[in-house]
Amino acid sequence: MSKTMTGAEMVVQALQDQGVTHLFGYPGGAVLPIYDALFHQTKIQHVLVRHEQGAAHAAEGYARSSGKVGCLLVTSGPGATNAVTGLTDALMDSIPVVCITGQVPTHLIGSDAFQECDTVGITRHCTKHNYLVRKIEDLPRILHEAFYIARSGRPGPVVIDIPKDVQFASGIYQPPKNIQHKTYHPQIKGDLAKIKQALAMMAKAKKPIFYTGGGVINAGPAASTLLRELAAQTGFPVTSTLMGLGAYPATGRNWLGMLGMHGSYEANNAMHDCDLMIAVGARFDDRITGRLDAFAPYSKKIHIDIDPSSINKNVAVDLAIVGDCAHVLEDMVRLWRSESLSADKKSLADWWSQIDRWRARKSFAYRKSDKTIKPQYAVERLYELTKGRKTLITTEVGQHQMWAAQHFHFEEPNRWMTSGGLGTMGYGLPAAIGAQLANRDALVVDIAGEASILMNIQELSTAKQYRCPVKIFILNNEYMGMVRQWQELLHGGRYSSSYSEALPDFVKLAEAYGLKGMRCSNPADLDAAIQEMIDSPEGVVFDCIVDKAENCLPMIPSGKAHNEMILPDADEDIGNVIDDKGKMLV
């Protein structure tokens, strides 16, 4: 099967052999040979983005919605540096991405050549691993290894920097074999003795909670199924991070809603009061834990994660199980049944009635209005009107992202794509394009803010070119809403530079890109307008004019604990909630 070909042909052949169907990219001098090789084939569709950051986010959206490795191709210098934000985003959210960058020819490296930059140096900190290919002989191995590393263990982005002379050089291509990597062998199976110990702790628990995260999604759909089974077997409540939404269905009996800074009152209070926390594929991020020295103070903690460095990083745990969530959950489900374990039903009933009292606070409630569209109402209506379809949601970053997480409810994994760790404004539109290309049959909606959407607005052109009927649902409050909210909380309502002045007319903007533009500002018209958007066969930019002053609540203010949330009906002036120490935090 080995065959002589040029480096550029090897790249295309390897991508085909790795099952890549869509390659997001932007040509330039240092990748021309690869673009030429792409010209001669039809298996891989190249998707021309309008900015390399868009390529990276589109690859992420593709990966997250399909479970496959996302792939992008950019040129040297500015092509590579423009991709850096997307690579960092993929690293923070553990998304499998392979990024191929062109490089100046090897003899020019280090000479400050035109469009040269130290790509491996720059991306060392924002990739799981990266390569500079110095010899054609190394290229086939590196190409296959990159895919292996991107998708194995805790997934992440991998960069392959290929100098132009290596793209022109001839060598022998080797197809992918079962890679026996020299050093990289993540632990997949969990330690059985520890799993049994975990189950014994679970059987004794009086106030248990599952705290699940993006690791469950990354472990594949089987992990979500197993989580549902384990929750049903044990009867334990389930909460999830922003990244893990959809692993457990929002209509499931044991669902508490999302936890964390803008999570539900019942989820956060249950985390605070629990006596046993079972963290599955979650990493105790600061948005989740709030004040660490007051984090779940009465609890024993079990942590299941494929990355040993996630364990005891922010929070010390009592029992750590290193392994892939799907494998560990499978063992847990099997052993819980075969060892005839059962939960402490009486204590659990008390625990659930406590949870119901918290739930009765209705922490996601908001004041309805028939004059202005409340942003929460807009998300709620979008959810209701898209129910029963295969709907994929992406978001930008800010208030609208949190409202989407609170009010759009997910039943399945891989339906929700949002920039969690890095918090990248401009993520949602390119991610929606990537998700749409991987799921031609789905309705893909980017729930956006008017400020975020402008960060990668040029990708509307990509959506048009590839006939992606993505719907951009902008909650337009004319503010960088989360910034404005924090200025209200921390800086006496001095809204320094957070007003979205000189906004474009989004309807005309959509039309300028050849898409459909819509606007709605009246709550009475909203349902019909959303329906029109859904029914449209084209890409739509929907300018939804919402209440300008709405804050995203409930909220754990910075520096506070889970049981110190600000609720939507708090009479307290939110400008007085955070103390000086909390103001230092982000």
């Binding site: 900190h125 799981k128 660490l292 364990i311 929070v315």
Partner: protein, 185 residues
């Protein structure tokens, strides 16, 4: 080596509310000897705010292209555990061993110490050099260079003794370390 001061404790910091004990540990790290691997290791320390007290690196198995990096670091025990795990995530790293957690290990460092002086100071320097089993590797009528091998503490002590006599400068290799007994890492 650019030891960073830990950021002020915030409520989000993992050591908030804990009295953190600072320990010194010696880590042995076996890596593929490929371009950039040292930058990955050093970048991890600077990027995550860990300390490096000493770092040495050299190829130890040419045929397999393996290098051994020895790092002396300080931090709370939980920080040092994190450092080991973070190092293990770096793809070209084969193995990380925290020697300080094992039964016993040896560490040695080589130093070259230049001392300037005449008359009594000169003989005093030579006498002390002998007591420390330092070798004279260069001599002029008004200077010596000593070569001294030993644990870091021994070198520190010798340098302190030379200071009043006429210490000019010191070059140290940093620490190399290995476990006692028949087992490899």
């Amino acid at each position: 080596m650019n030891a960073q001061t830990p950021a002020a404790l915030s409520p989000y910091s993992s050591s908030a509310g804990k009295a953190s004990r600072t320990e010194t540990h010696t880590l042995s790290v076996l890596v593929d000897n490929e371009p950039g691997v040292l930058a990955r290791v050093v970048g991890l320390f600077s990027g995550r705010g860990y300390n490096i007290e000493s770092l040495t690196v050299a190829e130890v198995a040419h045929a397999q292209a393996l290098s051994r990096i020895t790092i002396v670091t300080t931090g709370a025990p939980e920080t040092i555990e994190q450092i080991s795990h973070q190092l293990e995530r770096i793809v070209p790293i084969h193995k990380v061993t925290d020697l300080s957690l094992l039964d016993g290990f040896l560490q040695r460092e080589l130093a070259m110490i230049k001392v300037r002086g005449k008359g009594e100071a000169r003989t005093e320097a030579l006498r002390l050099g002998e007591a420390f089993r330092a070798r004279v590797i260069d001599a002029t009528t008004e200077s010596f260079i000593f070569e001294l091998t030993g644990a870091p503490k021994k070198i520190d002590d010798f340098v302190e003794l030379m200071r009043p006599i006429g210490l000019v400068e010191v070059a140290r290799t940093g620490v190399a370390a290995i476990t006692r007994g028949p087992q490899g890492m």
